[in-house]
Subunit: 222 residues, 2 copies
């Protein structure tokens, strides 16, 4: 099992493995939170799969890649596995996030409850509009002038930038963010962006989600 697992992975780039696997690890972490909330101490890959409509073999494979967390006859200790997953995902320390663009999207993201729950701290919003600078989001995240991006990134220890500006400004903002020393960027702007090596860009294309619903509707009609 282990050999074929490794062989299959060898064909994919490391980047693809990270992307697909970390998305699943994030999902497992959410499921473990639910189990912990319900007072469960241990869980098998099979019951985890059944409860949350996951694939048990995939769970075992994903977790085995990062070490042996399962205990024969027991399954996984919920608390232990949660701690391991948070460590693998780098969530065992608070990550400070800046959002560039304090329009509707930026403001919505600043107060998105899921981020805080998982240990991300939205420290600051940036905008160029004079009437926005000095205000805060409804949840209290301060809006600063984008001219102060480099200074605040260093002072506040910002490690992740979220780009929530119109498409026409996105590449310029990305360049500013990279120049400020940020190496991990989440982009909500449509269109492709150039990133220098050593910087990780993750783009969220909301249209893709709608298209999978469109496909579902089209199949139903066919």
């Amino acid at each position: 099992m282990k050999t074929s697992n490794k062989a299959a992975k060898g064909k994919q780039s490391l980047d693809q493995v990270s992307e697909l696997t970390t998305n699943r690890l994030s999902l497992y972490l959410r499921c473990l939170n639910v189990l912990e909330g319900a007072g469960e101490q241990t869980v098998s890959s099979r019951s985890l799969a059944e409860k949350f409509h996951l694939n048990a073999a995939q769970i075992r494979k994903d977790l085995a890649y990062f070490g042996e967390f399962g205990v024969r006859g027991v399954g996984y200790y919920v608390g232990d596995l949660k701690r391991h997953l948070r460590q693998i995902l780098g969530l065992d320390r608070k990550l400070r996030v800046a959002i560039i663009g304090a329009g509707n999207l930026g403001l919505a993201l600043a107060d998105y409850p899921g981020f805080r729950q998982e240990g991300f701290e939205i420290a600051v919003l940036f905008d160029t509009l004079r009437e926005k600078v000095g205000q805060t989001s409804r949840g209290g995240v301060p809006i600063h002038d984008v001219a102060d991006l480099t200074t605040l990134t260093r002072c506040d220890g910002i490690q992740i930038a979220v780009i929530a500006v119109p498409e026409a400004a996105a590449q310029h903002v990305l360049n500013l963010v990279v120049a400020a020393g940020i190496r991990a960027i989440l982009n909500f702007s449509p269109g492709t962006l150039d990133v220098p090596p050593g910087v990780k860009l993750k783009s969220v294309d909301l249209t893709v989600s709608l298209e999978s619903l469109s496909f579902f509707l089209a199949q139903g009609e066919g």
Copy 2:
């Protein structure tokens, strides 16, 4: 090749196939738009893969699943393939979308440029707040009272609902949307929701995107 492809697929649920494959088809469609914009008439799976950092074998496999679109020695005709993909994804007709929740997120989604580009029409926003009802988004999408959801869904031919309300209200809104006859739902609220059979729910968990960046940063430090 074809047999092993089918065999591999047999192991996954139809739902998983749709999800993963349609996400890739959406991506191919975006790449073809770029090529068409650049005046390209034909493209091989290899050059498509090289230009956009995709996997050539995966492209051939994905497209072969829906029919034989390639021409030996030519590759794919860009315009033809685009038309086929749009048809498979159900994008050959306009789909009308309603957004429930006219907060920052709902308003941002209503004016998200990607949706319109791909043939989705954000027809209406719904909210419960008296001061919002009767207003429009910056892009001109009208905000109606959620009490009129069923009526407007039928009159306007709404086929997709987007849930952009706080977590506490999400299940209630989902029930309203389903009762109004909508079978395809895109959910931005954190937490799990129950859906009746025959209804497709796609949840966008924005935290997952941030966690893959956190993983990247953690690997760099390790």
